[in-house]
C-alpha cells in the first residue's frame, strides 16, 4: 500500500518534470532577482509586484514575438552571496536570456561578475551606486538614476532652500556611502559647508549617538540616505532629541506615504527625493503608463506606500520585453545588442540608454526624472522640483 503510493508520487513527479520543458517552449522566460525576505523584504516585494503587473499587461496584449512572457522570480534574501546564487540558478537552470535586479547597490555589485561571466544582460531597476555603470561591465543597463544624477538634479534647490551647512547620515553600504559622497561633492561646489558625516549599520535601529553628534554640529540641513524603515526611525528619534534641522532623504526608496503613517508628526517638514510621484501623476513625463500602473496596483490591493518602489519593476520588465521584440529572438547576445536601441515610454520617463564607463566596455545608463516632495500636515505635497 505504502510503496505503491510512493511509486505513484514518483511517477507524477517524473511526469511533471518531463512535461516542464515542453511547456517552457511556449513562453519566453525573464529572470528577476529581488530581496523578498530579509532586511530589504518590503521593497523587494513591491518591485516584484510591479514586475508581475507588467508581465500580465504584456501577456494580455499578446506577449512578445507571439509568445507569452514568464517571470522567474528568485529571492536573494537581502544577502549578496545568496544573490549570486539566484543569478547562477536563473541562468544555468532556467536558461533565462535576460535578468532584472537586484534592488540594493550591494546586491547588484555582487551579481555583476556572474552576469559578465555568462554574458547575460542585466537591467538594473533600483540601485544608485555610481560604480555599477562605471566599472566596465557591458552587460549592465540601468534604468534608475545614479546618486550623481540625483545630486545634480538637486543643485537648483540648494539656493532655493537656503542651505548653508549640511550634515549627513547614511547607511554603511554602497548605496549610502555613494550617495553621501555625490551630494557632499555637489554641495561643497555650491559653497555649502559640510558638518559631520555619520554612518549607520543597515540593520541598526538606534541612532541616538549619531543624531546627538549631528545636533552638536549645528547644520541647517541633514541629508539621510537609507531605506524607509530606517528613515522612519530617524525621523522619530530626531524629534525625540529635539533635532530641529531640515531633513532631506535621498535615494528614492523612502516611501513618503509609509512615513506619514508610521512616523506621524515626526515626518512633517521633511523632504524626500522620489523618482515617481504617485500623488501627482500628471506631472510625470508619461502620465499614461503611470496611470495604468497605479490603477492595476490599486485593483490588486497592493500597499499604496509601495507605489514609489513597484514602478521600478514595472518599467524594468517593459524594458526587457521591448528589447526582446527589437532583438527578434530571446537570446542573451541579441538582447544585449537590442537594449542599446530600446526606447520605452515608462513611468521613469522616456527610457533609453547612454554609454557610461571605460571606452570599449560601456554600461547603459538611463536618465530619469527626479522629484523632491515634502511632507506637510500629514500629507505629501509638491516642493518645487
Amino acid at each position: 500500500m505504502h510503496t505503491s503510493s510512493v511509486k505513484i508520487a514518483f511517477a507524477v513527479l517524473g511526469a511533471s518534470l518531463l512535461a516542464g520543458p515542453a511547456f517552457a517552449q511556449e513562453t519566453i522566460k525573464i529572470g528577476v532577482t529581488q530581496p523578498l525576505t530579509g532586511a530589504f523584504a518590503a521593497s523587494g516585494n513591491y518591485v516584484a509586484q510591479g514586475a508581475r503587473i507588467a508581465e500580465d499587461e504584456i501577456n494580455a496584449a499578446g506577449g512578445v514575438l507571439g509568445k507569452k512572457i514568464q517571470l522567474v522570480i528568485e529571492d536573494s534574501k537581502s544577502n549578496p552571496t545568496e544573490a549570486v546564487g539566484t543569478v547562477e540558478k536563473l541562468i544555468v537552470r532556467d536558461k533565462v536570456p535576460a535578468i532584472m535586479g537586484a534592488w540594493s547597490s550591494t546586491l547588484t555589485l555582487a551579481i555583476m561578475p556572474k552576469i559578465q561571466e555568462y554574458k547575460v544582460p542585466l537591467v538594473v531597476e533600483t540601485s544608485s551606486s555610481g560604480k555599477i555603470t562605471t566599472s566596465g561591465n557591458s552587460y549592465v543597463f540601468r534604468i534608475s538614476p545614479t546618486s550623481e544624477m540625483e545630486a545634480v538634479a538637486f543643485k537648483p534647490l540648494v539656493a532655493k532652500l537656503g542651505i548653508k551647512k549640511a550634515d549627513f547620515l547614511n547607511t554603511n553600504n554602497d548605496f549610502g556611502i555613494g550617495s553621501a559622497a555625490e551630494y557632499s561633492k555637489m554641495l561643497k561646489a555650491n559653497g555649502v559647508a559640510i558638518g559631520v558625516m555619520e554612518t549607520m549599520d543597515p540593520k541598526a535601529t538606534d541612532f541616538s549617538a549619531q543624531l546627538t553628534r549631528i545636533k552638536a554640529s549645528g547644520g541647517d540641513t541633514l541629508f539621510v540616505t537609507t531605506a524607509v524603515e530606517q528613515v522612519t526611525l530617524i525621523l522619530k528619534q530626531a524629534k525625540e532629541l529635539q533635532l530641529n534641522t531640515r531633513i532631506i532623504t535621498t535615494g528614492g526608496s523612502n516611501s513618503p506615504d509609509q512615513l506619514v503613517t508610521q512616523a506621524g508628526d515626526a515626518a512633517n517638514g521633511s523632504f524626500h527625493t522620489v523618482f515617481f510621484p504617485p500623488w501627482f501623476p500628471d506631472v510625470v513625463t508619461n502620465p499614461e503608463p503611470a496611470k495604468r500602473y497605479m490603477t492595476e496596483w490599486a485593483k490588486r490591493g497592493h500597499e499604496p506606500g509601495g507605489l514609489t518602489e513597484g514602478f521600478r519593476g514595472y518599467d524594468g520588465i517593459f524594458t526587457i520585453a521591448e528589447a526582446i521584440k527589437i532583438a527578434g529572438k530571446a537570446e542573451p547576445a541579441a538582447i544585449t545588442e537590442a537594449l542599446w536601441k530600446t526606447k520605452v515610454k515608462g513611468v521613469y520617463g522616456n527610457i533609453e540608454f547612454i554609454k557610461q564607463g571605460p571606452a570599449g566596455s560601456e554600461s547603459g545608463q538611463n536618465i530619469p526624472s527626479v522629484y523632491l516632495v515634502k511632507i506637510d500636515g500629514g500629507k505629501v505635497v509638491k516642493s518645487g522640483l
Binding site: D201, A209, L241, G305
Partner: protein, 290 residues
C-alpha cells in the same frame, strides 16, 4: 558637556533593554546548556504580539504588554516541550542545529504572517520629549527603561528568593546532584526556557513602540544578546545586567566621539579585550564539572 550628558542618558536607556535581552539568554544557557538561537525571534514575537493587541485589537497599552509577555512565556514553554525536551542528553551541536532551524522557520513564519512591510505601534505617551536643559529623552523610552529595571529586579528576586529559583540554581550548579535531591529537572528546564523567552518577548513588546517592527528585527537583538552574555560571563545574571550597560555605553560613546561607522565594532572590540584578560567573561561563576 551637554553632548556628553545626552550620550550618557541615551546609553543608560539603551543599556536597560540590552540587559533585559542578555538576562534571558544567559539564564537559558547557564541552566540548560542550550545556545538559544530563537532568542531574537522571541523578541520579534513579543513586538508583533504588541502590534496585534494594540493596533489590530485595540487593547489597552499596559494590558497589551502583559499579554505579549504572557504569550512569549507560553511560546517558550511550547518550544521547550516540543523541541528541547526530546534533545535532552543530545550533544550541544545537535541542539544548536535544531535551534538554528527553529530560528529560520520562525522568522519565515513571521514574514508570511505579517508581510515584510514594517509596522508601527502607537504609544500612549506624549510625542513631545521630556526636556531637561539641553538634553532630552522621549517619554516612551523612559517608560521602557523603568519597566526594564522592574523586570530585571523581579527576575533576580525569582532566582534568589523562590523555591523555583532555588531549584534553578541547584540545576545550574550540578544537574545530576539536583535530580538526585528530588528537583524536577523537566519542570526546571521548561520554566527556565519560558522565563528566558518571556524576557525576550518583554524586550520586544517594550521596544516595538519605540522602533518599528519587521520580521528581521530579531537578528540584531540576538547578536547583541550573545555579545552581552559573553561579555558578562556565561550564566551570570549580574554579568548580563552589567554587560548590557557596558555594551550600551561603549557603543554610544564610541559612536559619539570616535566614529559612528564603527559603532558595532566598538562593542566587539571591548569584548575581545575583556576576553583576553578574563577568558570566562567578567562575572562567570565557578561550576562543578562532572
Amino acid at each position: 558637556m551637554d553632548q556628553f550628558l545626552q550620550h550618557a542618558l541615551n546609553a543608560m536607556i539603551l543599556g536597560g533593554t540590552y540587559a533585559l535581552l542578555g538576562i534571558g539568554l544567559t539564564l537559558i544557557f547557564g541552566i540548560m546548556r542550550v545556545v538559544n538561537f530563537t532568542h531574537g525571534e522571541l523578541y520579534a514575537f513579543g513586538a508583533y504580539m504588541m502590534y496585534m493587541w494594540v493596533m489590530l485589537i485595540g487593547a489597552n497599552f499596559m494590558v497589551s504588554i502583559v499579554l505579549a509577555i504572557a504569550l512569549g512565556v507560553a511560546l517558550g514553554a511550547v518550544i521547550e516541550i516540543v523541541l528541547l525536551r526530546r534533545l535532552r542528553g543530545a550533544d550541544i551541536d545537535t541542539t544548536m542545529l535544531v535551534m538554528i532551524g527553529a530560528w529560520i522557520a520562525m522568522q519565515n513564519i513571521e514574514q508570511l504572517a505579517w508581510s515584510g512591510v514594517a509596522k508601527s505601534i502607537n504609544s500612549p505617551f506624549p510625542s513631545a520629549p521630556l526636556v531637561m536643559g539641553a538634553i532630552s529623552v522621549s517619554w516612551t523610552r523612559l517608560f521602557v527603561f523603568a519597566v526594564a529595571v522592574v523586570l530585571i529586579a523581579a527576575t533576580n528576586v525569582l532566582i534568589q528568593r523562590t523555591r523555583l529559583g532555588k531549584a534553578m540554581r541547584a540545576t545550574f550548579q550540578d544537574r545530576e546532584a539536583a535530580a538526585l535531591m528530588g528537583v524536577r529537572i523537566d519542570t526546571v528546564h521548561t520554566a527556565t526556557f519560558a522565563l528566558g523567552s518571556g524576557l525576550a518577548a518583554a524586550a520586544g513588546a517594550l521596544l516595538g513602540p519605540v522602533f518599528v517592527v519587521y520580521p528581521t528585527i530579531g537578528d540584531l537583538a540576538s547578536l547583541k544578546a550573545f555579545a552581552i552574555v559573553i561579555l558578562g560571563g556565561l550564566g551570570s545574571i549580574p554579568g548580563a545586567t552589567i554587560g548590557g550597560f557596558i555594551l550600551a555605553f561603549m557603543e554610544e560613546l564610541g559612536a559619539g566621539y570616535i566614529s559612528s561607522g564603527y559603532r558595532d565594532a566598538m562593542g566587539f572590540l571591548l569584548i575581545i579585550l575583556i576576553l583576553l584578560f578574563k577568558p570566562t567573561g567578567l562575572f562567570a561563576r565557578k561550576e562543578r564539572i562532572g
